[in-house]
Symmetry: C2
Subunit: 212 residues, 2 copies
């Protein structure tokens, strides 16, 4: 499938369509009109049809979309119907919390290796998955190749992030979920998605403070 020309907002909306379709499926709906899907998500039916048209023909006039079929198709488009081997760098407080988060596995992100720069952590096992032992960051290149890892979760302090990202990318990592509170430079062929909890908290604190 050629996906290079799909606009980013379309891909983002696919995630929202998928979630709504999964809700419908759980509520025993087996077909849905684009009009109804649109109303639930506050989009227009035209928008939904246009987005899905990038990926082929879906739905039948007068019947609507087959909910199960569309779920399968969108999961396939998003790539969450396959399993990705994932590594985590940073076995600190946030890293260990993330390693125990089951939502990753639900989207096909399988944690297979954890790294930390602190020698006192190396060799220790992680909660929930005692078979994984923390490795030294020096072992990143060899482990990425050996375990065929494409994705990395980064949960390290800001100042440690960029050199680690350079190592990860040179080792073959092609996608990064970044929790380090810093902006990261990567070349265009590497996908990066950042979750910046500090910024989110500050925005919330500002809004609540100014409304009080």
């Amino acid at each position: 499938m050629k996906t290079g020309n799909i606009p980013e907002p379309t891909v983002r909306r696919l995630s929202l369509y998928l979630r709504e379709l999964e809700n419908l499926w759980r509520a025993d709906h087996r077909t849905v009109a684009s009009r109804k899907l649109a109303a639930a998500l506050k989009f227009t039916a035209t928008q939904i049809r246009k987005d899905l048209a990038y990926f082929g023909q879906f739905g039948q006039r007068g019947i609507g979309y087959d909910v199960g079929e569309l779920i399968t198709k969108i999961r396939h488009i998003l790539g969450t119907d396959r399993t990705w081997n994932v590594l985590l760098v940073g076995a600190g407080n946030l890293g260990m919390a993330l390693s125990a988060y089951r939502g990753f596995a639900k989207k096909g992100f399988k944690l297979v290796a954890v790294f930390d720069a602190d020698p006192s952590k190396v060799g220790k096992s992680i909660p929930m998955q005692p078979e994984i032992r923390i490795q030294s960051v020096d072992e990143i290149p060899a482990t990425v190749k050996e375990k065929d890892i494409r994705l990395a979760i980064l949960a390290v302090p800001g100042e440690a992030a960029q050199p680690l990202v350079d190592t990860l990318v040179q080792s073959g990592i092609r996608g990064l979920l970044n929790f380090a509170p810093v902006s990261i430079d990567v070349d265009a062929k590497v996908a990066i998605s950042s979750v910046d909890l500090a910024v989110q908290l500050e925005q919330l604190s500002f809004q609540v403070g100014s409304g009080v």
Copy 2:
């Protein structure tokens, strides 16, 4: 201070300025030219001066900004120089991970109560803070008043989120950090900031999959 007219992108940039200033402080820089701050953040010096002008006069021509003073001012503007009592709803896997995350305390978010709808969890203590015991969601209204809580972290399944948000807002909560994978309706006086890990993972999976 009147903050109602500050554009949201300006407030978001304040978070980025603060982080860069904190880095400069740690590297023993005590003054910084707006030009240098701009270069580090890939903004223009004009942008920085314009953003800061919303909050008063900062910096001196030829010397630049006093790093320590500007950190103090921005923390005050963002409200992270005070302590907010925060509650958490959802003592599942993600909720317990978040309860152990030290980054909240660093921004002045003090966890003082945890709630769950599951009776088998009620009464149990949480990791890292054994003095906090999980309460029933029925106790939300009384506890919000008793402990003067303004902010809530929501880490519950999507279908449980909206009714809980309604309860929280009626109880007096004015800001929500939402990790539930669903969009939430609140009236305009309630601030909401959402972290949607599922969507982030799907976007990353799509980008990496289409680039392979």
